[in-house]
C-alpha cells in the first residue's frame, strides 16, 4: 500500500535536552497514513529520544507533536489516552518477564482498552500465530529466543490497534541470524498498511520497506526523501559519510 492522505503524525520544531546535552534541536517530520518512514542516523543522533518524545515517555522542551491533527504535547493532554493510540517497540524488547507471551500481548488490551479476557486472548492468540509464535503462548520470555521475544513485543504493540507504530531499532539487540524473522514481521505490518516510524540501522531493510528515509544528524533531520535518493544519491556530505561508515562494517 502506498502512502496517501492526511498526516497521522506531525513533529514540528521539537527540541529536547538532557541537562546540558541537546539531543533534539528542532526536528520537523511528518508521517502520513499508511506511510513507513525509516529514521536513520548514528547512535546518539536522537532517534530513540524522538520516538520516546512522540510516545510521551519523554517531555519535549519546545515545539509540538500532533497525532491525527491534534496536539499531544500540550500539558493539558492526558498522556495515557495518547499512548493508547500509539505503540512503541523497544530495542531491548522490554517484555514483562513475569508474564507469558500471551499475557504480555493481552495485558494492554484488557487493562488499557477494556477488552474482556476472552476476546483479548482470542485476538492475542491470533496475533501470536500471525507472527509465527503459535504454540508459544504460554512460554515465559526467558524461554524464547531474542527474535521470538521481539516478535512477541511487536504483537503486543500491535494488539492495541495503534494509529501509528514506533519501532526503536528493533533488530539491534539480536544475533544476526535472528534479524530476518523480525524484519519479516515488520514487512507484514507494512503490507497491512500500518503507519510506521522506524528507527533502524538496517539500510537494505529501510530501502525495501520505507516510503521515505529521514537522516537524523546531531538532533536535526538533515535530509529526507525516497530511499533511492537518500541512500544512493545523498545530497549532504554528512549523509554520505554516515552511509560510507555503515558500508565499511557491512550493513
Amino acid at each position: 500500500m502506498s502512502a496517501t492522505g492526511k498526516p497521522v503524525l506531525e513533529v514540528r520544531d521539537v527540541t529536547k535536552s538532557f541537562g546540558e546535552r541537546e539531543v533534539l534541536r528542532g526536528v520537523d517530520l511528518g508521517v502520513r497514513e499508511h506511510e513507513a518512514i525509516a529514521l536513520i542516523g548514528a547512535s546518539g543522533s536522537g532517534k530513540s529520544t524522538l520516538l520516546r518524545c512522540i510516545d510521551l515517555l519523554e517531555e519535549v522542551d519546545d515545539g509540538d507533536i500532533f497525532l491525527d491533527g491534534e496536539v499531544i504535547t500540550d500539558p493539558a493532554v492526558d498522556p495515557v489516552a495518547v499512548r493508547r493510540r500509539l505503540a512503541l517497540v523497544f530495542q531491548a524488547y522490554n517484555l514483562f518477564p513475569h508474564l507469558s507471551a500471551l499475557q504480555n500481548v493481552v495485558l494492554g488490551e484488557m487493562r488499557a482498552h477494556g477488552a474482556s479476557r476472552a476476546e483479548a486472548e482470542e485476538r492475542g492468540r491470533e496475533l501470536l500465530a500471525r507472527f509465527g509464535l503459535a504454540g508459544r503462548e504460554d512460554d515465559r520470555p526467558e524461554n524464547l529466543s531474542g527474535g521470538q521475544q521481539q516478535r512477541v513485543a511487536i504483537a503486543r504493540a500491535f494488539a492495541g490497534r495503534p494509529r501509528a507504530l514506533l519501532l526503536d531499532e528493533v533488530t539491534s539487540a539480536l544475533d544476526p541470524e535472528l534479524v530476518g524473522e523480525v524484519l519479516e514481521a515488520v514487512r507484514d505490518l507494512k503490507r497491512d498498511g500500518m503507519t510506521m516510524l522506524i528507527a533502524t540501522h538496517e539500510m537494505s531493510f529501510a530501502r525495501e520497506v520505507a516510503d521515505q528515509v529521514a537522516f537524523l544528524y546531531e538532533g536535526r533531520i538533515l535530509e529526507q526523501g525516497p530511499p533511492e535518493q537518500v541512500l544512493e544519491a545523498p545530497r549532504r556530505d554528512e549523509t554520505k559519510r554516515f552511509l560510507t561508515r555503515l558500508l565499511r562494517v557491512g550493513r
Partner: protein, 273 residues
C-alpha cells in the same frame, strides 16, 4: 562406547569428589568433637547438665511451654500478615510522586526512621504501657494486642524499605513498556512492577520474618503468658533452667524451617548440603 580419555577424566573427578567428602567428614569430627569434648570436660558441666538439660524437668515443663508457645505462633502469624500490608502501603506512599501526597510521603519517611530507629524492646514497652495510660476510649488495652502492634510498627518500617528496594530494582524499561501499552502509572505499578519486585524481595522479607518470630518473646515484658514468660515462671518455681531450653527449641522449630525456605528461594548457593 566412551573413549579412554573420558573414562580417565571421570575417574579423576570421582577421586576428587571422594577426597572432598573425606576431608569434610574429618574436619567435622575434629571441630564438633573438639567442641563437645571442651564442654563435656569443663569443670561446671555436671551442674550445667543438671540445671539446663534435665530430662525430668523437660518432660514435666514441655507441655506448658508448648501451650504458651501457641500464643507466639498466633501473634507472629497475625503480625506477619499485617506487616506485609502496612510495609507495602508505607513503601508505595514513599515512592509516590504526586504532589498531593507530599504530607503523607513525609509521614512515611518519619514512620520508617522512627520505628526502625528505636530498639524493638523499647517500642514494645512504650506502646504496651503508654497507650493504656492515655486512657482514650476505643484504644486496645490487651497487652497481647499492644505488643503485636509494637512489633508490626517496628517490622513494617524494615519491610517497607525492603519493598522499596525491590521496586527500585525493577528496570526502568518495564515502566516504559507498561506505559507504552497504555497502562496508567498505577496500573503499571500494580500489574508490571510490583509483581516483579515482590518476587525479588521474597527472600529478604522471609529473613525479616525469622527475626520477628523470635522477637515475639519481647512481648513477655508486658505480661502475656507466651513461651518465654511461661518458661521463666517454671524456672523460678523449680530453680531449673531446662524450661528455657525447651522454649528455645520451640523457637528454633519455627525459625529454622523459615530459614530453609529463604535458602531455597535465594538459590542453591546459601544452602548447606
Amino acid at each position: 562406547m566412551p573413549s579412554s580419555r573420558r573414562l580417565e577424566r571421570e575417574a579423576a573427578k570421582r577421586r576428587r569428589h571422594r577426597r572432598g567428602q573425606a576431608i569434610a567428614a574429618l574436619s567435622s569430627i575434629v571441630v564438633l568433637g573438639g567442641l563437645a569434648a571442651l564442654i563435656l570436660t569443663s569443670p561446671g558441666w555436671p551442674e550445667v547438665r543438671e540445671t539446663f538439660f534435665n530430662w525430668e524437668v523437660f518432660k514435666e515443663s514441655f507441655p506448658d511451654v508448648l501451650k504458651a508457645f501457641w500464643l507466639d505462633v498466633k501473634i507472629f502469624l497475625t503480625a506477619e500478615l499485617a506487616i506485609l500490608v502496612v510495609g507495602l502501603v508505607v513503601a508505595l506512599i514513599r515512592i509516590a510522586r504526586s504532589p498531593a501526597m507530599f504530607p503523607v510521603r513525609l509521614l512515611s519517611v518519619v514512620f520508617v526512621d522512627l520505628f526502625r530507629g528505636v530498639p524493638t524492646i523499647l517500642l514494645v514497652f512504650l506502646i504496651g504501657f503508654g497507650v493504656p495510660a492515655l486512657q482514650l476510649s476505643g484504644t486496645p488495652n490487651d497487652p497481647v494486642v499492644l505488643g503485636a502492634i509494637a512489633l508490626v510498627l517496628s517490622y513494617s518500617a524494615y519491610v517497607a524499605e525492603v519493598y522499596r528496594a525491590g521496586i527500585n530494582s525493577v528496570h526502568r524499561g518495564q515502566r516504559d513498556a507498561a506505559l507504552a501499552v497504555g497502562l496508567t502509572e498505577t496500573q503499571a505499578m500494580r500489574h508490571v512492577i510490583l509483581p516483579q519486585a515482590v518476587r525479588r524481595v521474597a527472600p529478604p522479607l522471609l529473613n525479616d520474618f525469622v527475626a520477628l518470630q523470635k522477637d515475639v518473646a519481647l512481648i513477655s515484658i508486658l505480661g502475656p503468658l507466651e513461651a518465654f514468660r511461661e518458661a521463666q515462671i517454671i524456672e523460678s518455681l523449680t530453680f531449673n533452667f531446662t524450661p528455657l531450653v525447651a522454649a528455645a527449641l520451640l523457637y528454633l522449630a519455627v525459625t529454622v524451617p523459615t530459614a530453609r525456605i529463604v535458602d531455597r528461594l535465594g538459590g542453591p548457593e546459601g544452602a548447606v548440603r
